[in-house]
């Protein structure tokens, strides 16, 4: 059997197993173990276990459990409700203003955490019920929260960029800084969309009623701004100290976790029960991600053994005779397609090692490419049938939001993100300007 046929067989077996509803890590792990035994016999029996050693020596992976814990701690701490209240009062008087405030809230949460879980938890429990109560359109609001929380993996810190940095062997510091511009660009596009849409169809996002606005004095408005102090302190202690070179990247995630714990403690939210729940949820989510990474590494090792990197290069450049930019677009299209039904973490670990060497040899900037990958990953998070934000939304949304609402809600935001992706492809400076300023050319 040719190597291409084996690769196709591996992917199709994997897809079929996923449809049965077996756990993702079990499906990937089985395909990896079965194919390595079938291809190389008894000698390959240690291959799946070998990925535990690879993962053991991936020092930056320590940021994962730290950010997961921090995310849960932040949603317990009550910081988010204060922040929401601040945005509510300041942006509420505009048409669609509360939705704009929710995007800003998501940007703030994203700057404090490297995953989208925290934003989802906070958005679905704090912002969503409030916006529904104020007569906002449920489909638009659901979309705002899903798309907004996906900024968590783009605005630094970002666990997805840590993973990409390890696979592509690129400095994580530069990747994180490169995420700032595109992250803010996407947030701005979301806000623009909400303002235009609510201007045209005011019933989707009514402004706060006049009597409610008159009850809030200017003094109170100013006082509410204090809600921003603690988040700024957390962001400084984490990203600030890291960029200043005081802490290493992994240490900065531990500083962030400590800061979130201290804030929760200062706000009197820490009880034995809260602590235990937070630790238990952190273990469950970290173990879930780690086992998917472990299985995907074993899957990737089989691909590597088959010489897939060379095969893809030959296929794209020699057989199909593509231009470099055509290769780039094709790669993004395959990511988008796979991202709708595959697990995004597994996709990165299996596919990035195949694509990144080609990207570098074609003369593209691997930092910039990491950002392009992250945008496709954000899209993958919200596109059905498989997306982490979809799962979380379904688990946390109030009853009146149906599955169909959730699926419908993402359509405009996927289109906006595609516009964002195109902008970053055409103008690489959006991503690369900041790291070039800080680290020099």
């Amino acid at each position: 059997m040719s190597y291409e046929a084996i690769a196709v067989l591996m992917f199709s077996t994997f897809m079929l197993l996923l449809l049965t509803g077996q756990r993702v890590f079990g499906a990937i792990g089985f395909v990896a173990a079965a194919f390595s035994l079938a291809l190389w016999g008894e000698g390959a029996v240690e291959m799946p276990f070998a990925s535990t050693i690879t993962l053991l020596n991936w020092y930056p992976m320590l940021t994962l459990p730290m950010f997961v814990y921090m995310g849960y701690m932040l949603s317990e701490s009550g910081i988010a409700s204060d922040l929401y209240r601040m945005f509510h009062v300041w942006t509420g008087p505009m048409r669609g203003g509360l939705a704009v405030g929710t995007v800003l809230l998501m940007v703030a949460i994203s700057a404090m955490n490297g995953l989208s879980v925290a934003g989802m938890a906070i958005g679905a429990t704090i912002a969503l019920p409030e916006l529904l109560k104020r007569g906002y359109d449920k489909i638009m609001v659901t979309g705002v929260i899903q798309a907004g929380s996906s900024l968590g993996i783009m605005i630094p810190p970002s666990v997805v960029l840590v993973l990409y940095g390890m696979i592509a062997r690129q400095p994580v510091g530069q990747l994180w800084l490169a995420g700032v511009g595109p992250g803010l660009l996407l947030a701005a596009l979301f806000i623009l969309y909400i303002l235009i849409r609510c201007h045209l169809q005011p019933h989707l996002g009514p402004p706060l009623p006049l009597e409610e606005r008159q009850q809030i004095t200017w003094g109170e408005k100013i006082r509410l701004l204090r809600a921003g102090i603690l988040p700024l302190l957390i962001i400084f202690s984490m990203t600030g100290l890291f960029v200043m070179g005081v802490t290493s990247m992994v240490e900065s995630s531990a500083v962030g976790a400590l800061a979130a714990t201290l804030v929760a403690w200062y706000k009197g939210r820490i009880t034995r029960q809260v602590m235990e729940d937070t630790l238990r949820k952190s273990l469950a989510v970290s173990a879930m991600f780690m086992w998917i990474i472990l299985a995907a590494l074993a899957f990737g090792a089989v691909f590597d053994g088959l010489g897939a990197v060379k095969a893809i290069e030959i296929l794209f450049l020699e057989k199909w005779g593509l231009e470099p930019w055509q290769v780039l677009v094709l790669m993004q299209l395959t990511y988008l397609l796979m991202g709708t039904f595959l697990d995004d973490t597994a996709m990165l670990i299996i596919v990035a090692p195949l694509y990144v060497p080609l990207i570098i040899s074609l003369g593209f900037n691997p930092i910039w490419y990491g950002i392009l990958y992250t945008i496709t990953c954000q899209i993958a998070y919200i596109t059905p049938p498989f997306g982490y934000n979809l799962f979380l939304m379904r688990a946390m949304a109030p009853k009146e939001v149906t599955l169909i609402d959730i699926y419908k809600s993402i359509i405009p935001f996927v289109l906006i993100m595609l516009v964002g992706l195109a902008l970053v492809i055409v103008f690489p400076e959006i991503a690369l300007w900041l790291p070039n300023q800080v680290y020099g050319k």
Binding site: V24, G26, Y69, L283, A287, W291, P384
Partner: protein, 170 residues
Amino acid sequence: MPRIIKAYVRYVDAVNRVLGYFVMYLTLVMMGLLLFASLTRYVFNVPFVWIIEMAQFLMAAYYILGGGYSMQLDAHVRMDVLYERWRPKTRAFMDSLTAFFLVFYLAIMLRGGFASSAYSIKYNQTNYSAWAPPMAPIKIIMTVGIALMLLQAISIFFKDVAKVTGREIA
């Protein structure tokens, strides 16, 4: 369900639950180690190479020893485009069939773990790093964790079979 299977399910679930309860506190230990590392390096200018590596080893123990408990909590994502539409009994039926794939993967992991641990013990293998700690202890811990996950996967299989036949195990 035979009594021995009920006992198996009860014991395996209890062991993984208790272990998971202790393992979840490793988050705080890892956090402490990393904070200590940055403090000593930046404030006292004494870098300890072993701290970071210790934290890495703890992370391996964390997610592998906690694996069984995370399966008990049903924390592992599935592609649920079809799965979600099935009745609970159909889900249990499908899970009891596809449990084979999960068990196969974990069994191969376990065999690899045994072989790799035996190798490390025999040749006193150390990690390629400045600290160069012996690899045998962490490999044995990971192998034990994988074995417990395998036991948990089989326990979940028994529970699914019991659900399909209408005689649920609590």
